[in-house]
């Protein structure tokens, strides 16, 4: 699903060149649930930005579902993001004046799906995350865990190939975190490829594979025995 070969990325900070990613090689198969760990400054956010086509690599190749991702202009990147990727952010990033169901339907709007169909699909995904009853609520009327579940429903609504979650539990207490991880595990069980960036070890242990970054290189890449979040809820 995701193939990355010899990926380099550096940033110019003043006159100095900061080498953030120094040759990353990673191969993620369909249906995997991968945790990307690392302390701040390890390059994990940069890697996620490149995977999410929010940033371009300097060197190396990135293939997503057989499509080489390179030389993207903004319009093309937007289309690929819409087609291939679903994002889940630490701070949820819901649009605050739209109701839950409208937020979930938004990626479908950019896929030019008709209004009625959009609504039906959005309701379907809300049901999937267990928030169908909250469809007409605004984000401000929801708890953190509920917001993140809406965000996950939104990421799924576009039926992306890969779900990218950037610290999805970072803003949640542990009980709520496990609820969200439980949802992510369930989605993964249905075959969706998911990448989770986290620095919490217990969250990482709930994935199937853990990749640890340090100073721009992968220092560890191992399969783990998945801890089911449902056991903690």
């Amino acid at each position: 699903m995701i193939e990355i070969k010899d990926l380099h990325k550096s940033y110019k900070i003043g006159k100095n060149l900061l080498h953030v990613l120094k040759g990353i090689n990673i191969d993620i198969k369909e249906g995997e649930l991968v945790a990307i760990m690392g302390s701040s400054g390890s390059g994990k956010s940069t890697l996620l930005n490149i995977l999410g086509m929010l940033d371009a690599a300097d060197k190396g190749s990135y293939t997503l579902d057989g499509v080489p991702i390179k030389n993207l202009d903004e319009t093309k990147a937007a289309k690929y993001r819409n087609k291939f990727l679903g994002f889940v952010f630490q701070s949820f990033n819901l649009i605050n004046y739209k109701t839950a169901v409208e937020n979930v339907a938004l990626p479908l709007y950019y896929q030019k799906v008709g209004r009625k169909e959009r609504y039906d699909k959005a309701m379907q995904y809300l049901e999937k995350v267990g928030l169908a009853d909250w469809s007409s609520h605004l984000p401000s009327e929801l708890s953190g865990g509920q917001k993140q579940r809406i965000a996950i429903a939104r990421a799924l609504a576009a039926q992306p190939k890969v779900l990218l979650a950037d610290e999805p539990t970072g803003a949640l207490d542990s009980t709520t975190s496990y609820e969200v991880m439980n949802l992510i595990q369930n989605i993964n069980d249905e075959g969706k490829t998911i990448l989770v960036v986290t620095h919490e070890d217990d969250i990482a242990q709930m994935c199937k594979r853990v990749v640890v970054l340090k100073d721009g290189v992968i220092i560890e890449d191992k399969k783990v025995n998945q801890v089911r979040a449902s056991e903690h809820v």
Binding site: N49, G52, L54, D55, E74, T75, A78, K79, R81, N82, K83, F87, F89, Q90, S91, N93, L94, I95, Y97, K98, E102, L106, P107, Y109, Y110, Q111, K112, G114, R115, R154, A158
Partner: protein
């Protein structure tokens, strides 16, 4: 489908961000409203001005007798010229094609007395044509007519303020007044848009005045009206011919500039129009200033709106919005709001102007109005600039990487 859908998306955004919609809409509506009102008042001012300075007919020449400066045909220079009844008849006869009417005007001053009240007034001994030349409006009774002239009647037409001054609230019509030492019957009371001074005159038939002044045939000045149909060029030619004709009749050298003065109202008109144009320029300047203020207002609000929405736009981009669709969304929204608000401002302004009507007449704003074309043009300008003002920040927002926009503050 996408077109209708994108409008629906915009209506949702508008209806759910009421404060923002109100702010930008209000600025535009207010801008257009003030523009319409100011422009209308400016036009009202111009109307009052025109009424003040252009209350007389514009198709007339005034001929004043003077004194010769050059010796000619055996006459010495320094001879006083006077017009008489024969001049009147000759002009009527020779210029029948161009002439609309002609009237003499003999101007005197008399004490006018009714019962025990009296005052000094200007007396004008005129013919019937004078009413049209001065645009005198009859309040009651009638003006001097041809029969009065023929019969040399002792009838007088008095100004509104003359009646007010000396009649003590009595109806002047049919009463007898003393002009100098002679008794005249009041047959009419008039008003005039030219101001108070114009309403403190007394008119009598010029023939009556001639009779009083020892049966002279002198007529003072001549007011000659040409047919408007002959146009400006025709009028200029008429002026030349008339001057030559009169000089010949009175044996004045063609080069003598002082013997007869001719004042062409068309020339006055041009001067007045220049002043009118100045007023127009002031009005336009104020209008443009208001528009610019409106444009700056809407620009500021658009910058604020886009800034406020940066995060939302970042989310939309992460979900697959192309830069183009982001710009289109902001532009469509801003154009929709400015258009709707612009027309609200436009029509409420026009409504207010109509409502005011002549209520502000006392403040020299008469019948304020705005040309619909001008108002629409201003509205469209504001819409266009609102769109441009929205486009610049929208383009910048569309270029921001979603990751930057989404960064937690």
């Amino acid at each position: 489908m996408f077109k209708r859908d994108s409008w629906q998306e915009i209506f949702e955004t508008i209806s759910k961000n009421k404060l923002r919609t109100f702010l930008s809409g209000f600025t535009v509506a207010l801008g257009i409203f003030i523009f319409v009102i100011l422009f209308g008042f400016g036009n009202g001012l111009k109307n009052s001005f025109q009424e003040f300075f252009m209350d007389d007919a514009t198709n007339i020449f005034r001929l004043f007798p003077g004194r010769t400066n050059l010796p000619y045909k055996g006459f010495k220079s320094g001879r006083d010229i006077e017009f008489d009844n024969a001049d009147l008849a000759a002009i009527k006869k020779n210029f029948a094609f161009q002439l609309q009417y002609i009237t003499p005007r003999i101007q005197r001053n008399f004490t006018v007395k009714y019962k025990n009240k009296s005052n000094n007034y200007g007396l004008r001994a005129v013919g019937p044509g004078h009413q049209r030349a001065e645009k005198t409006i009859m309040m009651k009774g009638r003006f001097i007519n041809n029969q009065d002239v023929t019969n040399k009647t002792k009838y007088a037409v008095i100004g509104r303020l003359v009646e007010e001054d000396i009649f003590n609230g009595e109806d002047a019509l049919g009463k007898f007044i003393d002009i100098g030492k002679r008794s005249f019957k009041v047959v009419g009371v008039f008003q005039d848009d030219g101001g108070d001074n114009e309403e403190r005159f007394v008119y009598i038939p010029y023939t009556t005045n001639q009779l009083i002044e020892k049966n002279t045939d002198k007529v003072g000045q001549l007011i000659v009206a040409f047919k408007p149909i002959i146009g400006y060029d025709g009028a200029m030619k008429f002026e030349e011919e008339l001057m030559a004709f009169m000089k010949k009749r009175h044996a004045i050298s063609p080069k003598d500039e002082g013997a007869i003065y001719l004042r062409n109202v068309a020339d006055d008109l041009e001067q007045n129009q220049q002043f009118g144009n100045l007023l127009q320029m002031v009005v336009t300047f104020v209008g443009i200033g208001t528009l610019i203020a409106g444009i700056i207002g809407i620009s500021n609000i658009m910058v604020y709106v886009v800034k406020e929405r940066t995060k939302e736009l970042g989310i939309r981009k992460a979900l697959g919005a192309t830069p183009r669709s982001v710009i289109a969304m902001i532009l469509q929204e801003s154009i929709f709001i400015t258009t709707a608000a612009g027309y609200i401002g436009l029509f409420s302004g026009i409504f207010l102007l109509n409502y005011i009507g002549d209520a502000l007449d006392d403040y020299f704003i008469k019948n304020p109005f705005i040309n619909m074309g001008t108002a629409l043009f201003a509205t469209i300008i504001l819409i266009i600039f609102g769109a441009i003002a929205g486009y610049v920040p929208a383009r910048r927002a569309a270029r921001i990487k979603p990751i930057v926009a989404l960064r937690d503050e």
